[in-house]
């Protein structure tokens, strides 16, 4: 809302400077945007919060000024002279859609001379950035900007039958608006129609046909109340936002409707001549509920603000705001609420009124807030360990958006068989799928880094995915996604480091897994303590192609909740054995199909209590010596007792046992 300094002076004496005014208003809730000199006037742009439509006019701002500086406020009382013909014989109004138009008033001016506005009017409108059209239209705009009540002037002779019908638009109806564009209407919209067709979009824009022009002589002045939601929807659907629609969306002052109409007619008579018909057609389709007085208890002020405000001060503030005292005792004050302050319905609202006028600077900033303990959540602690570990492993942290394109969404979704949730409004570049995996987003991040010519592209992200549930809200497990240019086993090693960092005792296992996102035979599903934990593998050429990723890429995605379930945040001390260990290396020839995990499990079992550690060393193949489909696995194991020094005979016994069991279970042959 832009206010003119000169204009404000009509209602209140401005003894302060424009800067002082702007600052004080800002500290009372009317945020200052800018101040501009325009000729001999000053335009002050003020941001009005949506709860204060009363300040969308000069009088409203002047009232705030009067309250803050304790000055008298002078509001005009328009009493336009009128002729003898009763308006009710010339204009008929029918409201067919009371839910869209609670009240409609019409006045009629005849034999008006449409022409240029006087310079004072042009200057005032110019100061607040409103272009002058002609004296009649300018008068409606002037009153709009004076009190916040939108008005519309129709060329009465273009309103067929002198009949105004407020109704829903009919499907397929069209209107050429005063911007000379044709709008197709639908049944949700409210129109002002004459006997045959729409002449205006209620509260949004007038029609070109009934527009006031140089040839217009008879004018119908509309001052009405239109339902906020309907005006907002219509303005949005047609992208027709105007100062009028802005005000209807926030609600107009019911008792200001007739005032604005009289004020506008008075002004037109003054600058365009003519004669006002007697009276006003006033259709109250839905009466406003009676405004109930509100009580403010002084102890509530103290309880909420933390300071005492003297009762006399409270009364003075409320009275100046137009809230008149209806009852008063030692502990409370009850006030009536003026029609323009429909935002004030409760005690809490009065607390705010008193506080903002009394001044928030009166509230201290150094009271002793009580101390309480707070504990960092396990999830937070584990999350910090996880991130620190990833940083140490050389990964940079990425943040990617939760909503992705259908293509990305389809690229990988192994966590769920349910389709992705979609949103009605796309987020970026048509992205409307809530993601079910972080991996497509991270792959795209890799691509953009490759495109930028960056070399070391090692990224991770921790964020939620959204897995639809048949009823109610989706599951939102937090995932760790990794995209890397390292090899499969290096990324697997990084995952093992994470498990170590969190002291996860549970065993990480791998299972066969196939998905077009991954190269066949180069990926796996991960489980932790038997629960589904993640996916790991080489991204397939096909997936790389679709994301335009050039270099070899290994990705992994892990469920952080599974990690947290097994994380040990406070590790417990276990005494180390003081007896020496015996380490043995074995080289076994086994069939190609035997997996290390199987062999390891066998070794663990065969090794018994003395076995403290098994380490895989390497695999190699020598088909000429060992025959086809065979491989040699070299590993070591460590034996140790925490009670005694082991003898070499004991070590040999265990070794023999390990070799025997491996031979029985896996056709393993000891080499050398």
């Amino acid at each position: 809302m832009i206010v003119s300094w000169n204009w404000l002076q009509d209602y209140v004496d401005l003894a302060m400077s424009p800067d002082e005014l702007a600052l004080r208003l800002a500290m009372a809730g009317l945020n200052h945007e800018s101040t501009t000199d325009i000729g001999d006037d000053v335009a002050i742009d003020i941001e009005i919060t949506s709860n204060r439509p009363d300040c969308l006019g000069h009088i409203g701002i002047a009232r705030e000024v009067a309250v803050l500086w304790q000055l008298p406020l002078q509001v005009p009382n328009p009493q336009p002279p009128h002729g003898n013909s009763p308006v009710s014989e010339l204009v008929r109004v029918r409201v067919e859609a009371p839910e869209l138009c609670p009240r409609y008033t019409a006045r009629l001016l005849r034999n008006v001379t449409v022409g240029p506005s006087p310079s004072w009017l042009v200057d005032r409108l110019n100061a607040i950035g409103v272009a002058s059209i002609n004296n009649v239209v300018d008068a409606t705009n002037y009153v709009l900007m004076e009190c916040g009540q939108p008005l519309h002037a129709f060329d009465y002779d273009k309103v067929k039958g002198g009949q105004i019908v407020v109704r829903h638009a009919r499907k397929g109806e069209k209107l050429v608006a005063i911007d000379h564009r044709t709008y197709e209407l639908d049944e949700s919209m409210c129109v002002i129609a004459d006997a045959s067709s729409p002449v205006a979009l209620a509260g949004v824009m007038g029609g070109a046909d009934s527009e006031v022009s140089e040839t217009t002589t008879n004018i119908l002045i509309e001052s009405a109340d239109f339902a906020p939601l309907s005006v907002r929807t219509t303005a949005r659907l047609l992208r027709l936002h105007s100062p009028s629609s802005y005000r209807f969306e926030r609600g107009v002052d019911d008792q200001g409707i007739d005032w604005a109409s009289r004020r506008c007619c008075e002004l037109i008579l003054q600058i365009a001549g003519g004669e006002l018909a007697d009276g006003c057609v006033d259709v109250v389709a839905v009466p406003r509920p009676t405004v109930v007085p509100v009580t403010l208890r002084y102890h509530t002020l103290k309880r909420i603000l933390g300071i005492d405000v003297p009762p006399a001060k409270v009364e003075q503030i409320l009275t100046a705001l137009g809230l008149h005292q209806v009852q008063h005792d030692k502990s409370s004050i009850t006030v009536s609420i003026p029609s323009w302050r429909r935002d004030l319905t409760r005690e809490a609202d009065l607390v705010e009124e008193v506080a903002r006028v009394y001044g928030y600077d009166q509230i201290p900033e150094d009271v002793g807030v009580s101390m309480v303990s707070s504990r960092r959540s396990d999830a937070d602690r584990a999350g910090a360990v996880l991130r620190d570990c990833l940083i140490g492993l050389g990964f940079d942290e990425a943040y990617t958006t939760s909503v992705v394109s259908k293509e990305w969404s389809d690229a990988f979704h192994a966590w769920t068989t349910a389709p992705a949730l979609t949103v009605g409004t796309a987020m970026l570049r048509g992205a409307d799928h809530l993601r079910r995996s972080l991996l497509p987003s991270l792959l795209a991040a890799k691509q953009s880094n490759e495109a930028a010519g960056n070399s070391r592209i090692e990224l991770f992200e921790t964020a939620r995915v959204y897995l639809a549930e048949p009823n109610g809200l989706p599951q939102e497990p937090t995932m760790l996604g990794i995209v890397s240019g390292r090899g499969f086993f290096e990324v697997k090693g990084a995952i093992l480091s994470l498990l170590q960092a969190l002291h996860v005792g549970a065993k990480l296992k791998t299972e066969d897994f196939e998905d077009p996102f991954f190269t066949a035979g180069q990926c796996c599903r991960l489980t932790l303590a038997g629960n589904r934990f993640g996916f790991l593998g080489h991204v397939s050429d096909n997936a790389k192609g679709r994301f335009s990723v050039r270099s070899d890429t290994v990705v992994a995605e892990l469920r952080i909740d599974q990690l947290l379930r097994h994380a040990v945040l406070i590790p417990q001390y276990l005494p180390e054995s003081t007896f020496p260990a015996i380490r043995r290396e074995l080289n076994l020839i086994v069939p190609e199909s035997v997996r290390w995990s199987q062999l390891e499990e066998t070794i663990q079992q065969a090794g018994g209590d003395l076995l403290s550690q098994v380490d895989y060393l390497e695999t190699y193949r020598d088909p000429q010596k060992d025959g086809p489909d065979k491989k040699r696995i070299l590993f070591s194991f460590t034996l140790r007792s925490d009670q005694r020094t082991l003898t070499s005979e004991e070590a040999e016994l265990v070794t023999t046992q390990v070799v025997d069991v491996c031979r029985n279970d896996h056709q393993a042959v000891l080499l050398g």
């Binding site: 800002a26 919060t49 309480v372």
Partner: protein
């Protein structure tokens, strides 16, 4: 030359060689000694060997035997000296290092600046007694709107201003437009007193530009107890700001409007000679307290919220919010 003379020469040579090798403490000196005694052309051993022709034919065999013995002994002495010199110098002698060459860096990753900001906020608020609470990002209308005193006709609920999930006939849900939803969930689930912060992703359909992004992060704080006042709010925000900025900071309230607080204010910090916008705050609206089953006559509370990107941008002088989501490693590696 008699045999005894020849052998005498050989013995003297052996003695001299052993001494020379023992005295050599560097590889260069040792090499010099080697050439002097074992040199193929004019080493002293070679010189003595050449005189063997002048030994009587009958004695030549014995002379040759002794020559070979001495040759071997000199060679052994030389090798022993080599081993000694090498062990003393710690292996093969190497040229001095150019210590101005760059080090070999172990790859180190970087925490995203937003995470760093979030960690800092959590840490400061933790010290002030606020615990972190979490809630879902996909929310129902009760938690995102109704319980927050945002009625059905409120403009904030416009489908075009939110990311509503397409759910068909099911209960409407949307990506949360503010982290205040978590306040409601916490208050619904436990009795007061409450002292929490919630941080996380929120979503609003803004067109992306240098200062807007349709997804961003918020921190909300909530304190509910008996006798909680706006003075407590101001004091907590001041303590927060002083911790975050590292100096005594003053707080200013400007009246504002949020459906879920009454009174509502914008909080500013006085920092470096300017009032800097912090975020929105206010006393929890009685309707919100009632909605979660608290008695607004018994308890009161305050809430505040701020945009994390904005804070992070100001802290690190990032001028375009989109940088946070581009994930260019050159950007990430600056933090």
């Amino acid at each position: 030359m008699s045999l005894s003379e020849f052998v005498g020469q050989l013995d003297a040579l052996l003695e001299a060689a052993i001494e020379a090798f023992n005295l050599a403490h560097t590889e260069d000196a040792l090499e010099e000694a080697r050439i002097s005694f074992l040199g193929a052309k004019s080493g002293r051993l070679k010189t003595v060997q050449k005189q063997m022709g002048s030994v009587a034919a009958d004695d030549r065999k014995a002379a040759g035997q002794r020559l070979n013995e001495v040759k071997q002994l000199v060679q052994d002495a030389f090798e022993a000296a080599c081993a000694r010199v090498q062990s003393q110098s710690g292996g093969t002698a190497q040229p001095a290092i150019d210590h101005s060459l760059p080090g070999i860096a172990a790859p180190r990753g970087h925490l995203h600046p937003l995470t760093q900001t979030i960690n800092e906020l959590k840490e400061i608020m933790g010290r002030l007694g606020f615990e972190v609470a979490e809630g879902p990002e996909v929310e129902d209308e009760r938690h995102n709107f109704d319980a927050l005193n945002i009625p059905a006709e409120h403009p904030a609920r416009d489908p075009l201003d939110n990311f509503y999930v397409n759910v068909g006939p099911a209960v409407p849900m949307l990506l949360r437009s503010q982290t205040s939803t978590v306040q409601i969930r916490v208050m619904e689930s436990r009795p007061w007193p409450i002292r929490i912060i919630s941080l996380g992703r929120v979503y609003r359909p803004d067109t992306a530009d240098a200062t807007h992004y349709p997804m961003f992060h918020q921190m909300e704080g909530l304190l509910i107890d008996r006798h909680v006042t706006m003075a407590d709010l101001k004091s907590v925000l001041r303590m927060f700001a002083s911790s975050y900025l590292g100096a005594d900071v003053h707080v200013r309230f400007r009246p504002s409007f949020f459906p879920f607080t009454e009174p509502s204010v914008e909080a500013d910090f006085w920092w470096n000679g300017n009032w800097v916008e912090f975020g929105g705050a206010g006393m929890v609206d009685p309707n919100v307290l009632s909605a979660v089953g608290y008695d607004p006559e018994e308890v009161s509370g305050f809430a505040f919220g701020l945009g994390i990107e904005r804070l992070c941008m100001r802290r690190h002088n990032v001028t375009d919010i989109r940088e946070f989501y581009r994930n260019d490693v050159r950007f990430l590696q600056q933090f």
